[in-house]
Amino acid sequence: MNRYLVPLLVVLLLIGFLVIGLKKGDPRALPSPFIGKPAPTFELPTLADPEVTVGSEDLAGKVSLVNVWATWCAGCRAEHGFLLKLAADKTVPIYGINWRDTRPEALRWIEELGDPYIASGFDGSGRVGIDWGVYGAPETFLVGPDGVVLHKHLGPLDPRAWEEDFVPRITAAGGNL
């Protein structure tokens, strides 16, 4: 009996690791190092008007979403309808970071598909994206009233992710839903 015990334990350990690996979901998804830490400060010219800026000051004092999007990004098109619905419900204000895009294309996108954003900052060079640790649009950050990042969602936002990952955190942080 004893001679089988060690191999058995090793196999069980391996199975444990494999199960964890399978349950983890997308292996390319990276946890954001900003969760629980202050969001990076930023200030960008808005998409609508280069003379006006949007930045960390606009986020202060309320729970808000920061959505990183681009016109070349298929996932952004997929989530756009849901963002419009969130905006229509007038719950959490949504700010956009238009990442690595061109103004004319981004403006046309907004015109054609609708604008869920309070304002979108235009980050053509991708500098602010790097500061936020963005590596693939769409990415959505949930930022608390104190400017701390509460959650980061990778990929298109959908009702399920919203209910499971965002709603409880928004409620806990005192945001209106």
Binding site: L30, P31, R100, S125, I130, Y135, G136
Partner: protein, 143 residues
């Protein structure tokens, strides 16, 4: 057909010689050497099995540009690594720094070698205690 194959082969051979990074080199060879070492050790987050030196994804180009800027500003390698880790986490580095979080990564190989060595030792020791019995061996081979 042969021409096509030869063409494909040529593409394969010569494409690897083309540098992805088309930016102008630093005037100071020492800075350029630091730059090249750094970009070969930073993971492209969008194409996770390539370094940003080998990737032509725009994110890799952006990160190269940032590293170039930081070097030009006189930042040390450690400061540049810190810049990347605060934004993208330890995963961005192909050689993670030794710290509490990555301790397991660093000690696991030694642990595995020790474990394997111990296993070999046990097996060899056990075999040495077995009686040498040529007769059963030859009989075994005959079956």
């Amino acid at each position: 057909m042969i021409r096509l194959l030869a063409g494909l082969l040529a593409v394969l051979i010569f494409s690897s010689a083309v540098a992805i990074d088309s930016d102008v080199a630093f005037d100071d060879p020492e800075l350029q050497a630091r730059y090249e070492k750094l970009i070969s050790e930073v993971r492209c987050l969008k194409c996770q099995n390539q370094s940003i030196k080998d990737s032509n994804v725009f994110l890799a180009a952006d990160l190269r540009r940032e590293i170039r800027r930081l070097i030009a500003e006189g930042k040390t390698d450690a400061e540049i690594v810190e810049f990347l880790v605060t934004r993208y986490g330890e995963f961005a580095l192909y050689r993670p720094r030794a710290s509490g979080k990555t301790l397991f990564l660093w000690i696991a190989p030694f642990f595995l070698v020790l474990f394997g060595g111990f296993a070999i030792y046990r097996v060899v020791r056990h075999r040495m205690t077995l009686p040498i019995d040529d007769e059963t061996d030859t009989q075994g081979a005959a079956h």
